[in-house]
């Protein structure tokens, strides 16, 4: 349907804008996102009464420009998200491939740990770790990775098991390749495809987890802007200053919506039937 293609194009556009603004944040923000002028508190966005074109999306309770905070928040959220997924993905995939390829008691131990990790409630654990280890940029990445890695491990192991019995693996082993080099050169490239799909599908979830944690106060610490904490701060002012809650929320919504649309199209596109194997 033409409508579908239209939606996908919009999603790509949104993400393109997002990434560009996140990268160029220091050049795009008219005001400092962390410091505000108290004389300008709680100004509405420019299309309302009392708003000015100086602050297009208004200011928050400390006089900080909402647009600047939004742009910086995008940068932070995307950064946290990407790093968390990369960390979780690398560790999880590594463990999964090792577990699947080596089998035996290594497999059993790793899978028990993965089962345990998967059986624990996500937000609760993230909350617990967040409060105990204190909110900070690196802690958030570690925490989100901690609750995420097991999914990669499970998928990596499943895919590894499928590939383990293939001819080229046997040939490599006969030729004398070590386990490590087989895993690196033969298993990994073929497993990577589905892992990358998993990663793209998780981006939205991670963004929501990060903003939920920031909302609860255990995510990115103030004054660094994060969309979640912006919403939390704006909550007390929702009656008088609705834009403080609405705008970051809409930002989260459209970001996650776009990535989910793209992710869904990607999975439809990259059906297993179309995947090519790398027999190096």
């Amino acid at each position: 349907m033409l409508f579908n293609k239209f939606i996908i194009v919009i999603a790509v556009l949104i993400w393109f804008i997002l990434i560009v603004t996140a990268l160029l944040a220091p050049f795009l923000t008219p005001f400092d996102p962390k410091v505000g002028s108290l004389g300008d508190r709680l100004k509405p966005p420019c299309w309302q009464n009392g708003g000015s074109s100086a602050h297009i999306l208004g200011t928050d309770l400390l006089g900080r420009d909402v647009l600047s905070r939004l742009i910086y928040g995008a940068r932070i959220s995307l950064l946290v998200c990407m790093l968390a997924i990369v960390v979780a993905g690398c560790i999880g995939s590594l463990l999964g491939i090792i577990s699947g390829y080596l089998g035996g008691w290594v497999d059993i131990i790793i899978m028990r740990v993965v089962d345990l990790a998967l059986s624990l409630p996500v937000i609760l654990l993230a909350l617990l770790f967040g409060v105990l280890f204190g909110p900070s940029f690196s802690n958030i990445i570690l925490i989100i990775s901690l609750v995420l890695w097991s999914q990669y491990a499970r998928m990596a192991r499943g895919e590894t098991l499928k590939i383990k019995g293939r001819d080229y693996v046997d040939l490599a082993r006969t030729a004398g390749c070590s386990d490590a080099s087989i895993m690196w050169r033969h298993i990994l490239p073929n497993v990577a495809g589905s892992l990358i799909i998993l990663a793209t599908l998780q981006v939205g979830t991670v963004i929501i987890i990060e903003s939920s944690l920031s909302f609860l106060g255990v995510g990115i610490p103030p004054p660094t802007p994060s969309w979640g904490s912006m919403i939390a701060e704006g909550r007390s002012y929702i009656v008088s200053a609705w834009w403080l809650c609405m705008i970051p929320g809409l930002a989260i919504l459209f970001t996650v919506l776009s990535v989910n649309v793209l992710g869904d199209s990607l999975t439809e596109l990259l059906n297993p039937a179309l995947r090519r194997e790398y027999v190096s």
Partner: protein
């Protein structure tokens, strides 16, 4: 079947055991609980006295043993923030609220989600299909806390139709249940749709059609029953997720449930309550998953044998 059950039971006990160790250790890893109880006027004697009273001067292993022993007896410690009530009593007091909210959301998701998902699969490409896919997408993409705030803003503040927070009559349920409901409906719709699509594609359905069975019976009698199996079993584990993941929604609506209790106790460093709530919630979660797995294996024999 029995081998499967005993295997899963052992796994569950190990998981619970490990969870208790993790909770216990985490609580003690960060910050000294005694310092938090003392004020600036306390003397060294007070410190020693409280340390002994709480049993914190014993070796860690012994502390853990005492913790475990008491936990199995039902004594999960007393709250150190405020009124010294036993932690278990606090949990049991707040649990019904979370349970009711989760039940309401579950009922909504069943009544709306399953028909929507099934019809979306049966009539692909129709308006209903598009609507179902839209709802599923929105449920995945909306942050729960924001939706709660937005709904609260429109219905409580602007329209003054519903109360913003608190726990009481039916009116108090509507907004939190609607918020939670959207996410559960989205998940159930998605699952029942994909499950129905898979079933409709299977051999026995094709055979039924070839046999000449009417399309209506094919769909509503044969396909539907088979597609519902994974959905119903999923909802079991999802129920536990709803209760444990309701932290955010309960915080937004000031709902007196265990999610908010967990959040508050963690923030207040209310040690014993925090341990107790986390243990309780994870046990619930693990137990629910176990029941669901067993149910699934009972209904679908293939699961028992492939899950080596």
């Amino acid at each position: 079947m029995q081998r499967y059950i005993s295997r899963r039971l052992i796994q569950m006990i190990i998981a619970l055991f490990l969870m208790s160790v993790i909770v216990f250790l985490l609580g003690r890893l960060t910050g000294d609980p005694v310092s938090m109880l003392l004020s600036q006027y306390s003397t060294e004697e007070d410190r020693v006295r409280i340390t002994e009273q709480l049993g914190l001067n014993k070796p860690v292993l012994e502390q853990y043993g005492i913790f475990l022993f008491n936990a199995l007896k039902g004594d999960l410690g007393k709250s150190v923030a405020g009124d010294n009530r036993p932690a278990l009593a606090l949990i049991l007091e707040r649990f019904p609220a979370s349970l009711k909210l989760a039940l309401v959301a579950l009922i909504i998701s069943t009544l709306i989600g399953i028909p929507l998902g099934v019809l979306s699969a049966v009539r692909r490409g129709s308006f209903l299909d598009a609507l179902a896919r839209l709802i599923a997408l929105l449920g995945q993409s909306l942050p729960a806390f924001w939706l709660g705030i937005v709904l609260m803003y429109f219905f409580s503040v602007k329209l003054r139709l519903l109360p913003t927070s608190g726990y009481g009559g039916v009116r108090h349920f509507i907004l939190p249940a609607a918020t939670m409901g959207l996410f559960t409906v989205a998940a159930v719709t998605r699952l029942s749709r994909s499950s129905m699509l898979e079933v409709l594609d299977s051999e026995y359905i094709k055979l039924a059609r070839i046999k000449g069975v009417s399309e209506a019976i094919v769909i509503w009698k044969h396909a539907l029953r088979n597609s519902l199996i994974p959905v119903i079993t999923f909802m079991g584990s999802f129920f536990a997720t709803m209760i444990t993941g309701a932290v955010v929604i309960e915080t937004v609506f000031s709902w007196p449930g265990i999610g908010r209790l967990a959040y508050e106790s963690i923030l207040n460093r209310d040690f014993p309550v925090m341990q107790a709530v986390i243990l309780f919630m994870t046990s619930l979660y693990i137990l629910a998953n176990l029941i669901v797995d067993i149910l699934y294996a009972w209904v679908d024999p293939r699961i028992r044998y492939t899950n080596e």
